[in-house]
């Protein structure tokens, strides 16, 4: 029974399987015999043909390419509902679902994709130094191979339009703004003391070595709502994510020595640099004599370290900078018979930790904090000044990209600043001053690309500062329109608020935030290695702090009655293609500004605002000599100063400023570079300003002295050696 049953069952199964196989076989054959032709035409928005598009059925090999008239035709054995895909570079992919039988004589219109490379860019007010970015007017290397910059990236930025070269200061003065109106950020977090501490009229340098950064964005106005507390300008530095290779860098320079090393373990890496600078040997050889005597020239020891850890969807970076510097100098002063002694010791420790996480659905979270401890120990005459600043910045930011046409950015941040200063006078009296501030801010901003020709950025920022008990609201808007294949117009408008400087807040907190309004119109033309930019702007200053003493002090009366304006035109031209091996750029800035601030008795053009600034930077690669030779020329028209012997206020001008610098980088071999540079080769005798006596002499005349650079020219020689596993890299990009 079981036997028979089993036999029958087996037979039955066989039969069924055979039939099943047959059915399958037939269906396969049938399918292969039934080909469907899919055809049609692909066009763009303007009804023009799109040639070379890939048209196919999703998940199959069946497809074809469109011809010059945008037509396509291919056969398929697929049946039923299928998805037809049209993909073409520069356009959004197109999907069409339906029965294959209906895929004939199709007319498919593609929508252009938003292209960051050739499309419109929101670039009003910004200069970028990066690799591939279209808005980059400088390459990272340019920052450091500019003659006259001697490795200081801030000095290189001073060759861009919108900046005024204030020779004796070294910081950034942007569009009629004072140096304190520019803020520096590393990976989106504030740097509280970006410049080395120094004495009056001895130019400072940036604290950071440029080669730890992969990108630098310098905005001369109208910047994003993500950044605040800067009336004029922001400088954004982005540190490298993943270093290329392990290496050790050594350098020996006429002013000091340094060593650096990069170690990589899989997705983690650590880079450190230390540098010791001492100007004593240089000063012994070529003493600086104009109005100064060094007791102990500038000496500093500094260290930087970056740790990076890259996860599958995250990035963590920790940046640390330590700097100790001291100097002891005697400086000429018109009010004293003898030189005035100034001693300074500065310690600065800075931490910057940032974390970025990429979530599903195009959400990105960025968070981080920066903390700095800064102390200055200053002795002038017999008065000791001890200043301490502890400052921190915490930030949390989200970004959601809905499509490549629309994204939104929002976040919150907190700045905490504690500043204390103690003055010990020789008579043993002591004055203390200081303040505590907590500043909360929130921002939201959105980029909308209507097409490759039109885009808009709209944002706003809300701030509350506890030290002033002041609320501020800053709307920002930026619009870009691409007028032709190579040209585009941009417009920007924004409100910008900044707390009064530490030197004021420590005496008076019954004030409100200083304010500017920016209006910017920009035209940019890019054509194969040639860049032309022209930007006209108007800046309206309001609520500027005024006081009734020479310098802000305990007994000063402060108010917010100050105001002013700055307007001008910035022009930039760069060409690295027309002449073989030659790369050059030209900047010209016209500036018209007047303001009533600080202790001004009326509205006037301040000393840091020359009307005309001009820079020409050239770099020439001499292949035979394996050398890059560069010249830079900088010009600034006369700077206003106040002559108390005349009735006018800031009515006179210094002679114009000239500086021609030269540098030579010679590649001895793949890993060794010899570098030589001279600032002010022709030895122009520049005068930055005049200092007038506080009281008139016997004849009733206020005597004066010219404030000149400590030395007209500066020489620099350095030898840079890189030791890496591949024996190929060098420090050319560090110079």
């Amino acid at each position: 029974m079981t036997g028979l049953n089993g036999y029958l069952l087996l037979q039955f199964k066989r039969m069924v399987m055979k039939q099943l196989f047959l059915i399958l076989l037939v269906s396969v054959t049938w399918a292969s015999s039934a080909q469907t032709t899919i055809d049609g035409r692909v066009i763009d928005k303007k009804n023009g043909p799109v040639a070379g598009a890939n048209v196919y059925l999703e998940g199959t090999y069946d497809g074809g390419s469109t011809n010059a008239s945008g037509e396509f035709s291919f056969e398929t054995m697929e049946t039923g509902t299928q998805t037809l895909v049209v993909s073409m570079l520069g356009y959004e992919p197109h999907y069409e679902m339906g029965d294959v039988n209906f895929f004939s004589d199709l007319s498919i219109s593609l929508v252009e994709a938003i292209n960051s490379l050739t499309g419109v860019t929101l670039s009003a007010g910004t200069f970028e130094a990066g690799d591939n970015s279209k808005v980059s007017v400088l390459k990272p290397l340019d920052i450091v191979t500019t003659a006259g910059a001697v490795g200081d990236f801030v000095a290189a930025l001073q060759t861009l339009p919108g900046t005024s070269t204030i020779n004796e200061d070294g910081r950034l003065f942007v569009r009629g703004g004072a140096a304190g109106e520019t803020q520096v950020f590393i990976d989106g977090l504030r740097v509280f003391q970006p410049f080395n501490a120094t004495a009056n009229n001895i130019p400072t340098r940036g604290r950071f070595s440029p080669f730890l950064f992969k990108g630098i964005t310098f905005s001369t106005g109208g910047y994003s709502a993500e950044y605040g507390q800067a009336l004029s300008s922001v400088l954004l530095l982005n540190s490298t994510d993943v270093p290329d290779q392990e290496k050790t860098d050594l350098n020996i320079m006429s002013v000091g020595t340094g060593i650096g090393h990069t170690e990589i373990w899989g997705d983690q890496s650590l880079t450190f640099n230390t540098q010791y600078i001492n100007l004593t040997p240089y000063e012994a050889l070529i003493p600086s004599t104009q109005g100064i005597r060094w007791n102990s020239p500038f000496e500093s020891i500094s260290g930087e370290m970056v740790f990076r850890s890259k996860g599958e969807k995250s990035m963590f970076k920790l940046y640390t900078n330590f700097n100790h510097s001291n100097l002891d100098i005697d400086q000429e002063d018109i009010n004293f018979e003898d030189f005035v002694r100034f001693q300074l010791t500065n310690n600065n420790l800075y931490f910057n930790a940032s974390y970025k996480h990429f979530f599903e659905n195009e959400w990105t979270l960025t968070t981080g904090s920066s903390i700095s401890w800064d102390s200055n120990d200053i002795t002038v005459f017999d008065t000791d000044i001890d200043a301490h600043e502890t400052a921190a910045h915490f930030k949390l930011k989200f970004r959601k990209t809905f499509t490549n046409r629309f994204n939104i950015n929002f976040g919150a941040e907190l700045f905490d600043i504690d500043y204390q200063e103690t003055v010990n006078a020789p008579d043993e009296s002591q004055f203390e001053s200081g303040f505590d501030d907590r500043l909360f801010a929130g921002f939201v901003e959105s980029d909308v690309f209507f097409s490759n020709d039109l885009a808009i950025k709209v944002g706003a920022r809300l701030e509350n500062t506890t030290v002033l008990d002041d609320f501020t609201f800053s709307p920002r808007i930026s619009l870009a329109y691409k007028s032709s294949e190579k040209g585009q117009f941009s417009l920007a408008y924004g409100n910008f608020y900044q707390n009064p400087l530490n030197e004021i807040l420590r005496f008076e907190t019954n004030l409100i935030s200083e304010r500017t309004e920016h209006y910017i119109l920009n035209y940019q033309y890019l054509n194969n290695g040639k860049t032309f930019r022209a930007e006209a702007y108007y800046k309206d200053y309001d609520n500027l702090v005024k006081f009734d003493t020479e310098l802000p002090e305990f007994s000063s009366q402060f108010n917010n009655a100050g105001f002013g304006y700055a307007t001008g035109l910035d022009v930039f031209w760069r060409d690295n293609k027309s002449i073989g091996n030659l790369d050059y750029w030209v900047s010209y800035s016209f500036l018209d500004t007047e303001r009533d601030f600080r202790n001004f008795r009326e509205r006037a053009t301040p000393n840091f605002a020359p009307s005309h600034s001009f820079s020409l930077v050239t770099k020439y690669w001499v292949d035979k000599l394996k050398s890059q030779v560069g010249f830079s020329y900088q010009y600034g028209s006369g700077r206003p100063f106040d002559n108390p012997n005349t009735a006018g206020f800031f009515a006179e001008k210094t002679p114009a400023f000239h500086n021609l610098s030269f540098n030579w980088a010679y590649l001895i071999d793949q890993q060794k570079i010899l570098y030589f540079s001279v600032n002010n080769v022709l030895g122009f005798n520049n005068v930055n300003d005049f200092q007038y006596a506080n009281t008139p002499n016997m004849e009733g005349i206020f005597e004066r002295r010219a404030i000149r650079p400590a030395a007209d020219s500066f020489f620099f020689v350095g030898f840079f050696w890189t030791i890496s596993t591949d024996k190929k890299s060098n420090q050319l990009n560090n110079l």
């Binding site: 399987m17 890939n54 196919y56 199959t60 090999y61 069946d62 074809g64 490379l117 790369d583 050319l732």
Partner: protein, 207 residues
């Protein structure tokens, strides 16, 4: 029992059929490429890649076709489009097959195309990246002739520029040529390029 046989046979037939389709598709794409129909070839490789989404080979070919087409391309917009497409597909291929030496040297080739287009802009940033990629590839596959050849050619270029002796690299090319005779891969359509190039380079060495 029989059921199993049928199923196995049927499945095998199906696989053979799809394998056959893959082979045919790849062969056709390679033929288009060798006929100079770069765009059609790239599009077909892309279609195969999209259908076979776990196989790095067609992705690799989309990258290769677009990279090769970029050497000598003067139009910045076209070059950028091609190289960005090459990079996109090379990145997907790398995800499907991590630590694949063929993909590492392909990525280096994309960088080289950028450097060839504008050395002043891309040389300084991409050269160290290439040095790293070649080192990595050589560590993984010291016996892969294409890796040995690519690295030797890259090093030779640098040495020549600095007026250094290129003999050691010529020896590497010679070694690569020997490696080509024995190099075999079980994977269908595994990259095979390089032998002719090695012969050419060696000729330059001796010439």
């Amino acid at each position: 029992m029989n059921k199993t046989i049928f199923t196995v046979l049927f499945l095998f037939a199906l696989i053979a059929n799809s394998q056959d389709q893959y082979n045919k598709g790849m062969e056709k794409a390679l033929q288009l490429w060798s006929n100079g129909q770069t765009l059609e070839a790239s599009n077909l490789f892309e279609r195969i890649a999209m259908a076979e989404d776990d196989n790095w080979i067609p992705y690799f070919y989309v990258a290769v076709v677009n990279t090769t087409a970029s050497f000598g391309e003067k139009d910045a917009v076209k070059l950028t489009q091609q190289l960005e497409r090459a990079k996109e597909f090379s990145d997907i291929a790398k995800r499907l097959s991590p630590n694949n030496p063929e993909l590492l040297i392909q990525e280096a080739m994309i960088n080289t195309a950028w450097i060839a287009f504008d050395g002043a802009t891309y040389g300084i940033t991409l050269s160290p990246k290439n040095a790293k990629l070649y080192d990595q590839a050589l560590k993984i596959a010291p016996e892969n002739p294409r890796v040995v050849l690519s690295k030797a050619e890259w090093d030779m270029g640098t040495a020549r520029y600095f007026g250094k002796d290129t003999t050691p690299y010529c020896n590497d090319v010679e070694r690569a040529l020997e490696l080509f005779t024995n190099f075999k891969s079980e994977i269908p359509f595994y990259p095979v390029w390089g032998k002719e190039r090695a012969e050419e380079v060696l000729k330059e060495c001796k010439g």
